[in-house]
Symmetry: C2
Subunit: 199 residues, 2 copies
């Protein structure tokens, strides 16, 4: 009997290292990586279907109205969302799907799929976050401070997440998420047919 | 800040390999192994404090009445129970405690400690269970059949357990339980101080 795959959602403040950890996970465990849709213009080097699916506003709104998105949000005049089809198809194939998404979207999806797994990734502490944001060298002091305050605010959402993973190193964080996925697959609530299979 | 250890309870039908898996776990991860108390006479080779704490009936009843047992039961005129002191002391030291115990006792403890982790260990299937029970060579056909029926009955309790682990090999089952313990330690409900620690 083929098991349905699980949906793993990774959130975390800017500078938590979500992107790097997710990349490591996809290589490590053959997760299916869900790609978001957006109406914003592709940046140089961004590839359709890898970084985003790029749609025009009309197409995006049609998807939204036809209930083809798991969640969506508008930022700075552009839409962002998660197409439902890919996620549901991969899960039906028995593949675990991983999705990197911000807090509001994650909580929207949890309402739809109560058994999705919400993982909140954080840097070890605020000092380390400051260091990482500074080392990027792409933002000024003011932006960094804003991101740090935002990170502290976002920590308020942790109790609504299932797990919290401290990103000391990429390797350890990826292993921690693998342990979570392994443990979740053994939950009795996900193995209700165990008695029939046993007999 | 020292974290409190977790209480991991392993149950499973006779022939599921609980004892061997627990032995492997204790070596592997430095779990503290809780030892049961009993009023039955020690068998040859059984060591006080290793296999059981052997008490007379009066002492056991005193412990029971003074609420010094996490759970207890009577089988064939003898008492069996789990002394509370050792478990609470080790958990306070930050050590994870492992306890191998039958279903009724496990569910008693879950009522006291809602955040203990209940793991149900099963052989891959009923054929494999029969094979293992037969290979022991210690029981007749009738006893084996009784144990197999009992195993099927016990599967009814799986939904009250948190996790189900299929014991294909001792090594894999021990690793599976380690993943469960690792994942549980990252549950947001067990990390309510995370925001303070972060700042």
């Amino acid at each position: 009997m083929k098991r349905e795959g699980m949906l793993v959602i990774i959130s975390g403040p800017s500078g938590s290292g979500k992107g790097t950890v997710v990349k490591e996970l996809v290589q490590k465990e053959n997760f299916a990586l869900s790609v978001s849709a957006t109406t914003r213009t592709p940046r140089t080097g961004e590839i359709e279907g890898v970084h985003y699916y790029f749609y025009d506003k009309e197409t995006f709104e049609k998807m939204k109205n036809q209930n083809e998105l798991l969640e969506w949000a508008e930022f700075c005049g552009n839409y962002y969302g998660t197409p439902k089809k890919y996620v549901e198809q991969k899960m039906a194939e028995g593949k675990n799907v991983i999705l990197e998404i911000e807090v509001q979207g994650a909580l929207q999806i949890k309402k739809l799929y109560s058994d999705c797994i919400l993982v909140f990734l954080v840097p070890p502490d605020i000092k380390e976050l400051e260091k990482r944001l500074t080392q990027r060298g792409t933002e000024d002091k003011q932006t960094i401070n804003r991101r740090m305050n935002r990170a502290i605010e976002e920590m308020e959402f942790v109790p609504q997440y299932d797990y919290i993973v401290i990103n000391d190193t990429v390797e350890a964080a990826a292993e921690a998420i693998c342990a979570i996925v392994k443990a979740e697959s053994m939950k009795s609530s996900r193995n209700i047919n165990i008695k029939q299979n046993f007999i």
